[in-house]
Subunit: 197 residues, 2 copies
DNA sequence: TTGAAAAACGAACGAACGTTCGGTACGCTT
DNA sequence: AAGCGTACCGAACGTTCGTTCGTTTTTCAA
């Protein structure tokens, strides 16, 4: 009788259970307002299991961060796939980011709003992480083939996606009246007008 | 012999000394990585003096936050003063924000990047603070008199200032090669193209 | 000069935290 | 069945932190 995790999760299931719980608590109350004992209680696992899988609290946060960045990167790659046009790509990226913000607000909260450098001391700033580099790359390609005006790449990337990212923050802060997706057309239109040639 | 604070500051001087030290430590290492004892040591004051003036650690952070928001609001008001034109106002606001970022990076770091809701639990999100409301108001006025296209105000404000704010973050993260001010023209141009009618 | 309020001081405290470690339970190979 | 390594358990530990409070110093009006 090989029952599949009847009550307490074991192995990989436990690992994921802890990470999901940690994400909830970290994004709700913040890293420093969440103790390992809080996670232990909420995830219904033991202290020892957490330390067995992650080593320490910081490493747990790092595992979570890496996992979420990977998801985000995959989202962006998928959005670009099959679209050669710069404008189409940018629009698809924003659309995907808006979807993720609506579907997994905690994930976006953690990736965008959390001050990782406060607890992941020698992690590079988020602007140099793969997903953000990919967004900048799309705009640079647009400049190279003339779809986008010849301006400083950082400025172009900030102009194209800065408004969208700000709208995502507003949405996470519950400052918007309507669902984030309903603003997509206007947000993209603004960003594109800013940089198109 | 009424010597003016020869060694140890007293009264208002001490209060400001503590706040300045707290700003340095909070923006460098973060709120939770800075203990009251750290501030005591760095500011060369006593624990008792800090508690006498601020009550507790959270209240110290709140006093700092309020003070910095006030400065920022005054900066924005001054930038708008005497300029009736929406585009001129927006440009002046961005210019002033860029100056402040270069002159007082710690202040901007603390106001923009710090996750205040982690330690100032019932503080409203920064987007609803006075300075940000003022920026939105400028854009709304522009919509009303036709300088700006008729779009959702939040979208317009995000498009106009989102790129600039993102550039400020990049600058604080040392991701830019040149001084922030040198990007001003391009950044404003992008924002304005995004929303002008 | 005096007296009382305000400001400053800092040793001490208790709670909470991240982590350790000696142990048990389980699954797999021999 | 025996041996072994991995997974899991949780009481206990040492440290750090925010805060308290009895005391001393300074200020200033009377």
């Amino acid at each position: 009788m090989s029952q599949e995790s009847p009550k307490r999760p074991r192995g990989t299931a436990l690992r994921e259970q802890v990470m999901q719980t940690a994400l909830e608590l970290f994004s709700d109350r913040g890293y420093f307002n969440t103790s390992i004992h809080d996670i232990r209680r909420a995830a219904d696992v033991s202290i020892g299991a957490i330390y067995h899988h992650f080593g320490n609290k910081e490493a747990l946060a790092k595992a979570l961060y890496d996992d979420l960045l990977m998801h985000m990167e995959r989202d962006i790659d998928e959005a670009c796939f099959g679209r050669g046009n710069c404008a189409d790509r940018c629009r698809a990226i924003i659309a995907r980011l808006f979807e993720s913000t609506a579907e997994s607000p905690r994930m976006m909260q953690f990736v965008l709003l959390a001050q990782h450098r406060e607890f992941l001391r020698d992690e590079p700033p988020i602007c140099s992480s793969r997903p953000f580099q990919a967004m900048k790359q799309v705009v640079e390609d647009g400049i190279r083939n003339g779809d986008v005006r010849a301006i400083e790449p950082w400025v172009a990337a900030s102009a194209m996606f800065g408004g969208a990212l700000r709208m995502m923050q507003l949405s996470l802060d519950n400052a918007l009246e309507r669902p984030l997706a309903t603003y997509l057309d206007e947000v993209f239109e603004c960003g594109w007008r800013a940089i198109r040639s």
